[in-house]
Symmetry: C2
């Protein structure tokens, strides 16, 4: 069973907005054994939408369309849908009532003519009620093919896809099972790992593929299998992933949707221990990465982002003489930052970062890319020096990943 | 002049990786007057790549391909390129020397067989030398059409596109000018703004389009024009954007690539004033957003992320009785957090956030989505209460945007 995602909107093609919807849709379809064959992003242009629909219809069984359903003039998906399916727009009383209610109670704004027009829908479409917004989704069948049109607003699209579209697809098609097993490693590059896996890859059965996904010092290895026999597929993936784990034992840090931050927070939740941060060159990135995860207030005490050099002394309490003697980007300062924040926040562990993320040199002579990371535990402090290159974004994110991995090792060592 | 972007990689279609390359390529092509007609994402599959190349060749003049050039088995773009152009792979001595040097000096790892294979390139392609990685780019012409194949690693792709591909396209084609003017507003919803602009939109000339781009409380209005006459296009856009600004005077906050964080940091740099933050429910997000911008250490002193309730007292210095009396999510606590952090960091301004980002209730009885934002200036403190809905990501990001907008107003008021 194959699907195509069509995302509509000039903002995607001129690069003003990154298309994050497609990745979400791809994940959800994959879970139910539907393989996304292609993602096509096109302009808000009638002729182009018609062509894309017609080409997708030839290629796949399921077409998911997002975008172009808003109340403004540049949103033309609904009219084009009518033209494609030889249909016409009719006013839907339930949707109108929902829109009126939404404006009265939640939005507390006057209802406008353009919003009332949003209650007009193609007469042949099954309407997918949108709880969170004014634009309803639409579900259409044409011979054996299925078309779903959803709003482009990620929050609304996600709810409609999960609650309305996925259940309809499941009941409509018999799909093979597609399963993935991802092994996450840290410490070796893509080609070194590939060299180690030459034999493993050559022996892979036809229905299982291996992919390498490197990203900022973390390398994900994904095994993907397709089969109509779920039980056999599970066994195959289990066997092969165990082989893979034993080949990569020294560098495996986690599995599947694990991230460095999830691994660390779950470990702390399990051990009932706490963490605080003193961030200089990472500027709050580690704190904000950890607090994306709900429920971390049990283990995350807080962070001191001491961005200007003097604040490291008068806010965090680092000895000024250490900074004078060793410079602000040094082993000694990283170490003292970690100890001071651990004591200020009364936490079991702490991380400190000090370095130069670039593009120009800061308050020290350190090369761009130099980062010192210290991790304090009840056992003491470890400090390491790194150079993460000359791209600001990459320096900060690699430092974040490395700091979390260092912390994970210290937690495991302390609790052994 | 029209282009198509083809991004290759199973990880895009199963949704493991979001395609950010296309947005960057779209922006760069737009700047030189090339309109991106379509973005197509496909699997690492030879037949599918061949079809996508052939279809794109029919539709557009320029085809930019990213991905599938790595050293591992799942990367098959280069071989497929050869098949499409009826070409063969030959070893390139310069690339081999570059790869050998890279492994010896920068990567400090042994050179592997798979890396040596990366020096093999299609014999007819013009080679685009990749300073930052082992996979070179390729540039091919077929009749009047141009094909460029670039690595999928964003950092490497960006450098090759800007330094090697764009200059070649400029010298190859005569392109019309495409220009944009974006006006950024805050405070009114998309449909209310559209209602106000009905007459303006009806009077727009054919070669200028208006698009609405809403995102987390900020609404961007983008005017886009196409013409072979650059001077006239500039005048038209200038005239129309001035009309638009006067129609939206009360809600305009910035232009073009401005962001709430850029507006605030530029204003502080200009006024030579400083800021600090006390973040609870935003968990370091405001600090990390500000420190993404290089050169902010002149105005950004730092942040205290006091995530656990007790740390607001023993780290930041908020009076425990205020928390007891009013609860941790309250006007009074937000106000005291702002004053304490302003004084701790000795900054001119400060922002404080306290609230409940969800999904479940935290240390207070406040509804999910409730956020208090306080901004302290040399004039005193202002505090406002908001409800940003029940999605954790949106609550945090809307609070960030709103806090920066409140701060901008206070800076303007104080310096009037």
């Amino acid at each position: 069973m194959k699907a195509e995602i069509i995302t509509i909107g000039d903002e995607l093609l001129i690069g003003q907005v990154v298309d994050t919807n497609s990745a979400f849709i791809g994940q959800e379809l994959n879970k139910i054994g539907v393989s996304v064959y292609q993602i096509t992003s096109i302009q808000d242009d009638k002729q182009h939408i018609l062509e894309a629909l017609s080409e997708a219809e030839k290629r796949v069984d399921i077409v998911i369309i997002t975008g172009g359903l808003g109340p403004t003039k540049d949103d033309i998906t609904k009219q084009t849908f009518c033209e494609y399916f030889n249909d016409e727009l009719v006013e839907n009383k339930e949707i109108l009532a929902h829109i009126e209610r939404l404006f009265k109670t939640t939005l507390k704004k006057p209802l406008l003519e353009s919003n009332i027009l949003q209650a007009k829908v193609p007469s042949k479409a099954e309407i997918l009620h949108n709880t969170y917004g004014t634009a309803p989704g639409m579900y259409m069948k044409k011979r054996q093919k299925v078309f779903a049109s959803l709003p482009g607003v990620p929050f609304e699209m996600k709810a409609l896809l999960k609650d309305k579209v996925i259940p309809r697809i499941i009941s409509e098609f018999r799909t093979p099972f597609i399963k993935h097993k991802t092994i996450i490693t840290e410490g070796l590059g893509e080609s070194t790992v590939a060299e180690r896996l030459v034999h493993f890859e050559n022996e892979l059965p036809k229905h299982i593929k291996l992919a390498y996904l490197p990203n900022l010092n973390v390398l994900r290895l994904r095994l993907s299998g397709t089969s109509f026999n779920e039980r056999e597929l599970n066994i195959d993936l289990e066997t092969l992933s165990n082989q893979l784990i034993s080949l990569l034992e020294d560098i495996v840090i986690g599995f599947d949707d694990d991230t460095p931050e999830l691994l660390v927070t779950n470990l702390l939740l399990e051990k009932k221990q706490t963490i605080s941060l003193a961030e200089s060159c990472t500027g709050g990135l580690i704190a904000s990465t950890i607090t994306k995860i709900p429920g971390v207030s049990a283990i995350f005490k807080g962070s001191m982002v001491t961005y200007q050099t003097p604040t490291k002394s008068y806010v965090l309490g680092v000895d000024e003489n250490i900074i004078k003697e060793h410079s602000v980007v040094s082993t000694q300062v990283a170490k003292d930052m970690a100890l001071k924040v651990q004591s200020n926040f009364k936490s079991d562990y702490s991380i400190a970062t000090t370095g130069n993320a670039g593009p120009s040199k800061g308050d020290s002579d350190a090369e761009v890319g130099t980062v010192f990371i210290a991790v304090a535990s009840p056992n003491g402090v470890v400090v390491s020096e790194f150079n993460f290159g000359n791209n600001r974004y990459k320096v900060m994110h690699k430092a974040k990943n490395k700091a979390l991995e260092m912390l994970r090792k210290e937690i495991l060592a302390y609790n052994k």
